[in-house]
Each structure stands twice: as structure tokens, then as C-alpha cells.
């Protein structure tokens, strides 16, 4: 059983939480025209590392708020807990974020508003 420290409520048993799977998957914006294969990267393809994994959790039987967790999928060690919408600060977790194949996908690029707007105005 994991003991997860909810950033809002403190340490609680795993049964109070729901796991939301891989974190940092940005939805391609509706106005873009990416291919089915690229959309599949967003919709179905998942990072599934043996080692450090960045994932979302929700304190579903508590404050019901979401947060991110960097957890090792072999040892179950929780390396870092950090808020939604932000990136991890620990070096190992940062590397995991940067080296994920997802950072290079067309789906991820199509999710950045500035880029898509810049493209549109040209």
C-alpha cells in the first residue's frame, strides 16, 4: 500500500486516491489539422517506463483535487509531488520529462497556443 502525501491534506493511504495515468499530455488544439496517427499519440499511446514515471493522482476520497506525482514503477518510491500545471523540480524527474518521446510528437507541438497562433497569422 502506498502512502501518498496529498499537497492539500497531508499523508493518506492509497485507497483514498485515484490514479489518472501519465501526466503532461497536452491536448492538440481543436483548430489544428494533425493526422490520425498524430492524434493517436495523444489519445492512445502511453509512456510506460520501467523506472521513474510522471503521473497524475486525485485525492478522490478527500479534497478531490488533482496533483502530479513522480514515482518509480519498480520500487514504488515517490520522488516528488508537485502541482498541476507545473513541471517537476528534482533532476531525475526533470530528465524523465525532457527525454519522453512525447515531447517530440506533432500532437504535443499542436497543443502549444503560441505556436499555432503564430502559424495562423503568417
Amino acid at each position: 500500500m502506498l502512502i501518498i502525501t496529498c499537497p492539500f491534506c497531508g499523508p493518506r493511504d492509497e485507497v483514498e486516491f485515484a490514479c489518472g495515468g501519465e501526466a503532461h499530455i497536452a491536448r492538440p488544439l481543436a483548430d489544428n489539422e494533425i493526422s490520425d496517427a498524430d492524434f493517436a499519440d495523444y489519445l492512445f499511446m502511453r509512456d510506460n517506463p520501467k523506472g521513474l514515471f510522471l503521473e497524475r493522482w486525485r485525492h478522490s476520497a478527500g479534497c478531490r483535487r488533482w496533483f502530479n506525482v513522480a514515482r518509480d514503477t519498480v520500487s514504488n518510491e515517490i520522488v516528488e509531488i508537485y502541482p498541476m500545471g507545473s513541471l517537476p523540480l528534482k533532476a531525475t524527474a526533470k530528465t524523465t520529462y525532457k527525454t519522453s518521446w512525447r515531447r517530440d510528437t506533432a500532437a504535443e507541438k499542436a497543443a502549444t497556443p503560441s505556436r499555432s497562433k503564430a502559424g495562423g497569422s503568417k
Partner: protein, 432 residues
Amino acid sequence: MAKNHPDRGQRGLPGGAPRYSAFALAKKAMNYHQDWQRAWRDPEPKAEYDAVIIGGGGHGLATAYYLAAVHGLTNIAVIEKGWIGGGNTGRNTTIIRSNYLWDESAAIYEHSMKLWEGMSQDLNFNVMFSQRGVLTIAHSEHELREMSRRVHAIRLNGIDSEILGPAEIKKFVPTINIDQSIRYPVMGGFLQRRGGTARHDAVAWGYARAADDLGVDIIQKCEVTGLRRQGRKIIGVETSRGFIKTKKVGCVVAGHSSVVAAMAGIRLPIASRPLQALVSEPIKPILDTVIMSNAVHMYISQSDKGEMVLGAGVDKYNSYAQRGSFPVPEHMLAAAVELFPVLSRLRMLRHWGGIVDTCPDASPIISKTDIEGLYFDCGWGTGGFKATPGSGHVFADLIANDRPNKIAAPYSLDRFRSGLLIDEHGAAGVAH
């Protein structure tokens, strides 16, 4: 589909390993069973093979066996990082059934069922296949209606399936509690009489022995560390025992599929999760069938040794740890004790977890990849054991002919791009 008889291939080569028989057993008894031959060799890896199968579980060994027996490819190897059958093949709850909702699923699981029905003869190895029936229980009115829809769909595919009411269930399984006041009351259920169990280790051993007999090298304690490519073509595998040259690689590594796929830069929609099971101390026979509950994620049967074999649901987060979270079996056991009050003082002997490769639509992936010569058979998730022979049979066909056959075609990786998913969350549930 009921008339589709799979090509079982030729069993054994002239001068192959001696047959197992009652006579051989009696003869060896004279010598206190001291001189049984090895069931399979322990070869050093050759420099090159026509095909390499990564993963020596049931599916991998079945693939190798059918490649040799049906397609005549005998210069092949199965490489396994641990020992054969030591992963999910030796960890599952051995349930076999073919009662799935969609036509695509009916095709592959029934294909598998037909191979189960002749497996002990084909392999000359008693896999203890026992068609004792699989009864899935409904705990609510809604579940019962959904079940009746499924039963009709299954019957339209020519597969046996029937609905039972609580009184009929009580007659079929006298130890069950059909009191309507419990947390998960028995409202009805559906039964596949041809379903049942098999001895999981024997399946791995039987396929290994038969494949080895046909010339397949089974190389244990050999871990794949990389896949060597030339452009978009596979040219070999890097292993802990050196480089092995080959043009065809079949990956059948279940929970580690994403890890091997990453070596080739391939993305899979798979999440690896622990699935837990446990067995009790052996007791006298009390249950001669398999009982499943999708709502509780409980499944229970009694082994020939007398142990109660119980399976739980899948854990809620990704893990490669081969051990699960305690609340999962606790939830399952609470419901099991209510359904079978006779279990309440039973002691559990062993409890373990296996890492299963779950797919978004609860259906497997049997597919070519965009790298030439690299094939994947994965995503069986919580229910791969029942599919062992069928999966191996169609995957061997895919590797040998470099194109999927009619049964395998819907299970291509492309379905996640086209959207032609085969949603079996209802039939597969988590309970397998």
C-alpha cells in the same frame, strides 16, 4: 466459424524425444524414475536464426511451436531472460473460456478453445485441460440484462453459452450463497460449459518440449538488451549472451512490451499493471467449476491439489514490481467470503502479482510494426492465458507469412489510428 478447424501441424520429428505414455511411466518406475530424459535441451545461442521469439512464456513458446510445426521454420530460437513459464504463465488463475461479445474476439478466443481441446494429444503432454465450466455471476438487474445481450451475441457466433437463474446456480454450485441480502447478491449468471481450466506450467513445458523436439532452441537466462536495426529493418537482437543475427523478431513479452518496444523506438498504447492472485491451503473438493464476478473482480476455482485459487482485479497504477497493493485482494476476499461462507476460516498460503499489459480497448495487439521484421503480440492484459494456443498459432502465421491472417487482422496496431477498436471491457472486464 464453428466449422473452422485450425491447422495443428505435424507433431514431432522421426527420432525425436520418446513419447510419454502409461507404459513409459511403468517402465521407468522399475528404476525409481531415475533415468527420465531431459524434456528439452539447454543450447548455447547460435550466431544466426531465421527468427527469434523474445519471451519464453506460454504465448512465446506456442508461437515457436506453431512456427516449427505448421510453417516448417525450425531454425528459430526462443530467448527468455528468466526461466520459461516463470512470468505471467506461472502466475495466472488458469481460466479458459471463449465467451466474448464481438465477432473479432469470438474468432480468436474460439480458435484458441479448439486448440485447447486437442492440445494434450498434439503435444503428447498432459496439460490437464478440464472443461469444468465457467460461470459468470450477475449481481444486479442491469448486469443481468447486459449479460443476456452478451449471451445472445455469443450464441450467434456458434459458441455455447446459457443463462442460469439463482436456483439453477445453487443446484450447479451447492456451496454458493444465494441469499439476496448480501452486498453482492447472486441475481443470475451465464455459463460456458466448454470453459474450464488447465495446468499453466504444463502448457509452457508441453510447448517447450514439443518445440525443442522439432529443433527450436529454447535459451533461458538470456536477456534482450537491444534490437539492432539497419534503417527500417531488423538485423538482430543484442542479448546478455551476445549478439544474435536474425531478420525476424517476434516480441511476446507481456508486461515488458513497452520496454522492448522502446528499444526500437516504437510507441504502444499499453499500461503495465500488477494483477494479483492467491491460493489457500488444500481442502477436500467443494467446487468443481469456475466462478467469476465482473462486478467484484473476483474469480475462484479449486485446483486438483485442493487449493482454492482466487484472482483479484488489476491495480490502479502502473508498476513493474510483480507485487500488488493489499486493498485489491482484500476487496475481492470480502465478497468471496460472502458468496462462499465456507471459505471464511480458510488460510491463504501464497499471494503474488504478475505484470499485465493492459490495452485501452481490452483487446490484444497482434501486429506488424513500421520496422520490417519486427512483430508484436501483446496487450493481452488480464486475460492472456486462455488465448495461449490461439495467440501463438496466429502470431506464428503472421511471422511466417509477413501478413496477418483473417483472425489476426483486426488486432493490428493500426486500429488505434483508424479508430476500429474492439471494445471488450464488458466481456473481458478485469476478471479473467
